[in-house]
Symmetry: C2
Subunit: 211 residues, 2 copies
Amino acid sequence: MQTAILLYDNFTALDAVGPYEVLSRIPGSEIVFVATNPGPIRTDMTSLALTADASLTDITSPDILLVPGGPGCAELLNDEPVLDWIRQADTTTTWTTSVCSGSLLLAAAGLLTGKRATSHWICMELLEAFGAIPTSERVVLDGKHATAAGVSAGIDLALHLTGLLTSDRIAQSIQLVLEYDPQPPYNTGSITKAPPPLVTALRKTNLTITA
Amino acid sequence: MQTAILLYDNFTALDAVGPYEVLSRIPGSEIVFVATNPGPIRTDMTSLALTADASLTDITSPDILLVPGGPGCAELLNDEPVLDWIRQADTTTTWTTSVCSGSLLLAAAGLLTGKRATSHWICMELLEAFGAIPTSERVVLDGKHATAAGVSAGIDLALHLTGLLTSDRIAQSIQLVLEYDPQPPYNTGSITKAPPPLVTALRKTNLTITA
């Protein structure tokens, strides 16, 4: 079972690495990081690069496609070679998936038209503009298209998929290996839980944190 | 504020990337990935490499040191140049931290002797053998030494530290940006919650998942 994870400049690291850490532990799983130009690809926070080992032309029929989000996806919304690659990959996948604003790329490729999907909370209107039915759940499955909310939601998405692809036992084992027993010190992880002024401030700065 | 994250062959990606995703968003924060030999460093699951931009000699006085875990740390337990670098960094840090089995390296460097600390659940006995007081909490602070449980616990650790280093508002904002509102599909993320046969099986295989 081959999972292709698309990398591009200014993607968000955890969007890709969260699912990678889960899916790579499925017995028999092969993960390949793919980019237009293979080599080190810088994340949005700039101090980290992940290596893409394959080019788009190297990987044409993955079983799972995962598209992470990040500010850099804005520049790909009109990148026809990338959108074509996503469309082509989707013809062979068992699951076509995204984390965070990665769903905008699936939508721009035409794969989410009329489908329920989610994205980072700040992208939900744009997701609708691209023809999807924005759905405020952490993990949304519609047919073989599975989308996750912002950044960290990719871990939950990958555990869901692992259960569906293999067995509860394997998914539960991976959760235990990763000691995924979250205990965040605050309860501000969604716009329904965070204080409204915090949400408003982050909308204004487009998610940049100010001192 | 400079955070140095140590990379080495066969580290676990999420141990490093979870905290990176949080700490890199602190205003004024600089993160640098450090390794004995800079360049791409392969993770334990082999299909991913993260780039270390700096060598040990480049970074001598970080404000925060973060040591991720992974199977590869076993080979560093007797690596005196790495242990010396950890000891030296610790003399200038505000916080010296680890995720998962990374605490074994802090302990091997002598920094956790007689101190409360945690690690991946499978490493707790070894942590004690290295002189620390193993403590079954997800995030353990003892003085300026902060250790996290397995893999995903680094996200919680980093949010804790962010609150202590900056303000609740900034830490809460980062949680909202990362949409860290965990909803794992199972409740098997710790050895007290997972079915005992699952724990036993993973101990036997040393965390390898079998089909």
